[in-house]
């Protein structure tokens, strides 16, 4: 058979093959948000066509939304206009719309799995590159551009050549305080930000099979940061357990039928990959980034690598350190920080808040640190309150904001000021990503918590 998981899902969704061209791929689930959809809807209008299968598209507002006072009208007129456009377009085309204030509102990649829109073996796209998150369920999920959003709305298909296949296997037991985020940052630092360009990655091995579904989402989410089209993990008992009885998952006979398909979803023993990589899980340490792309990560207790040890682009490397105002060889431990951001579709789920709370419990927030704790959805927000985490956070001097993408891309008011340092659980540390001139250190919720109470970069292992 020698088919990979990716082959099985992809091939079963090809409507048409164009010789020497892309495949026409059928899309099962489409998520839209306010930023990358308005021009696509405008395109439909100009072509005078309707949405072909409105029940397969789901809309939520997240990129642009405030994380305070969501019950009030949105102040920024441009943001308000975009939100209104999404609402109008959804209504016009009969698409389910979970706007600001709706109980199901949240970041697209957080709410998709929460309500069972995300399912194994599905093809899922969204105009956001971290759509790769949904690969955690054994789906083929990837980000698309606005032209493609228009394609999916009008024809439920996109046209893309099939990606090459890569398998990344990691076995072994993870050490204490090493989280799925660290595993992902480790892989990216090994591969660089372009190391998986052109590939779809399958994660394999005991490290992933032992990981929770939320952890798998964090790993798949970051696949795009090494250039991959997406990442996926074969569904198992944990996956089925997670999706069972969610609002949009099949029930009864439909569930049985779906299970038949889902149980075939793993790479055959003799599957052929274009590239295979193996790492040892036991060697992975808590990670942090020191530069301006996610590939510039290192074990938190190491020194910043020397420019000479970089494979290429010494000039770019030095430019990056200059932006961060760091020097080669320096230790990251002890570096002063100004902001902490816990949130985003990478680490804005309940397990992330549990991890953060575990460290800060009974301690106090450092006075020099501004902390933004932003749940990924209302569902996460409710769980934080119900589990009593909010009380612990409040006692330590933290407050909780309302759900949204927030400082992950800083389109709303949550911007890190120029020159300031933020330890962030999000996914990108590009120049200015979190606000013009902002400096981002990507890390796990544990490292973020350790920084929040000490005011400096701190190894979380010293705080348990």
């Amino acid at each position: 058979m020698n088919k990979t998981l990716f082959d099985k899902v992809w091939d079963s969704h090809v409507v048409h093959r164009i010789k020497n061209g892309p495949d026409v791929l059928f899309i099962d689930r489409h998520m839209v948000h306010e930023v990358t959809s308005p021009v696509a809807f405008l395109g439909l209008k100009n072509r005078n066509v309707n949405v072909l299968f409105p029940e397969k598209t789901f809309a939520t507002a997240d990129h642009n939304t405030p994380t305070k006072n969501q019950h009030l009208p949105v102040k920024d007129p441009l943001s308000a206009n975009q939100l209104k456009a999404l609402e109008d377009n959804s209504k016009l085309h009969g698409i389910s719309y979970w706007g600001l204030g709706h109980e199901k509102n949240g970041i697209v990649h957080v709410v998709g799995p929460e309500y069972g829109i995300t399912q194994p073996g599905a093809t899922i796209v969204c105009g956001d590159s971290h759509t790769s998150t949904h690969g955690a369920f054994g789906a083929i999920a990837f980000g698309i551009g606005t032209s493609e959003v228009e394609m999916v709305l009008s024809t439920q298909c996109i046209m893309q050549p099939k990606a090459k296949k890569m398998r990344i296997s990691i076995d072994g037991k993870l050490s204490k305080a090493v989280t799925p985020k660290d595993v992902a940052l480790f892989i990216i630092s090994e591969l660089s930000t372009s190391g998986a360009t052109g590939y779809f990655v399958e994660y394999y091995g005991s490290v992933f099979s032992e990981m929770s579904m939320e952890g798998r989402m964090t790993v798949c989410n970051l696949s795009i940061e090494m250039g991959a089209r997406g990442g996926m993990i074969a569904p198992d008992e944990k996956t089925f357990e997670y999706i069972k009885d969610r609002e949009f998952t099949p029930r009864g006979k439909d569930w049985d039928k779906a299970m038949k398909y889902w149980s075939t979803l793993k790479s055959d023993a003799d599957a052929i990959f274009d590239k295979e990589l193996c790492f040892d899980g036991e060697t992975i340490q808590p990670m942090i980034t020191y530069g301006t792309n996610p590939g510039m990560g290192m074990s938190i207790s190491n020194g910043i690598p020397n420019a000479k040890s970089q494979k290429g682009g010494v000039k770019t490397y030095l430019k990056s350190l200059e932006y961060m105002n760091y020097n080669e060889g320096e230790s990251m431990l002890g570096k002063k920080i100004d902001f902490v951001f816990l949130g985003s579709c990478t680490n804005g789920r309940i397990e992330d808040f549990r991890a953060f709370t575990e460290i800060i419990k009974g301690k106090k927030k450092a006075p020099n640190v501004t902390a933004w704790l932003v749940p990924g959805s209302h569902k996460v927000e409710k769980a934080i309150k119900k589990e009593g985490l909010l009380t612990i956070l409040n006692e330590a001097g933290f407050e909780l904001r309302e759900p949204g993408c927030s400082a992950c891309l800083a389109m709303n008011d949550d911007k890190i000021p120029p020159g300031k340092y933020a330890v962030s659980t999000s996914n990108r540390n590009f120049e200015g990503r979190q606000g013009p001139g902002s400096r981002t250190l990507l890390a796990s919720p544990l490292v973020a918590a350790a920084a929040a109470i000490t005011g400096i970069v701190t190894d979380p292992r010293t705080l348990f």
Partner: protein, 198 residues
């Protein structure tokens, strides 16, 4: 949205020899609030181009009148990061029809091909040659022939072939986009939809 056909482009070029240029640099997120495709060219490389008081930064290449043209030449791994098509729009709307680099990020390349910007991937050696020639003489022209899949540095005997998917090439040569194609096979899509397992 349809775009102008691309056949042969001969133009001087703007050099940007920086690696890993990500889409947040090409167009920062705060400029993504539009509901129409308008004014994106003005914000191309916004934070490299202007300081916080909106004054042009003299040392940035787009503010240097010496370098002009419809071709942008960038360092390796151009366009990594976000899936925002706005990045490709801002490149096109600024007036570039072609980006040359030794490596492109996937989504950016795809977005470019969908909207009429031709990504031309060359070897790192050839890229180096282009930068050298442009810095020697900013008026140096590049000739890009899509049909022949050839890029030449005019006034030298340096040239290289580049790859492009045949289907995308046809589209570009005619100014078609994918939706035109998909609309034509809508019946088979609807039949397929009835038989999907999910």
């Amino acid at each position: 949205m349809a775009y102008d056909k691309f056949t042969i482009l001969e133009s001087s070029a703007v050099p940007l020899p920086i690696e890993n240029i990500d889409t947040d640099q090409i167009i920062p997120a705060r400029f993504l609030k539009a509901t129409e495709r308008k004014d994106f060219g003005d914000n191309l490389f916004r934070d490299w181009r202007y300081d916080s008081n909106n004054n042009p930064k003299k040392d940035f290449v787009l503010n240097n009148p010496k370098f002009k043209g419809e071709i942008l030449v960038g360092g390796k791994n151009f366009g990594s990061g976000s899936s925002r098509e706005h990045a490709a729009w801002s490149v096109y709307d600024y007036g570039f029809r072609c980006v040359v680099s030794s490596f492109f990020a996937d989504i950016f390349r795809n977005n470019c091909l969908n909207i009429g910007v031709l990504p031309v991937q060359v070897t790192s050696k050839f890229l180096e040659e282009i930068f050298n020639k442009i810095y020697e003489n900013p008026k140096t022209k590049l000739n890009i022939d899509l049909n022949k899949q050839k890029i030449k540095i005019i006034g030298t005997n340096l040239s290289e072939s580049f790859d492009i998917n045949e289907y995308k090439k046809e589209n570009m040569l005619h100014g078609y986009d994918d939706i035109d194609y998909l609309m034509n096979i809508k019946d088979s899509i609807e039949i397929f939809a009835k038989n999907t397992p999910l």
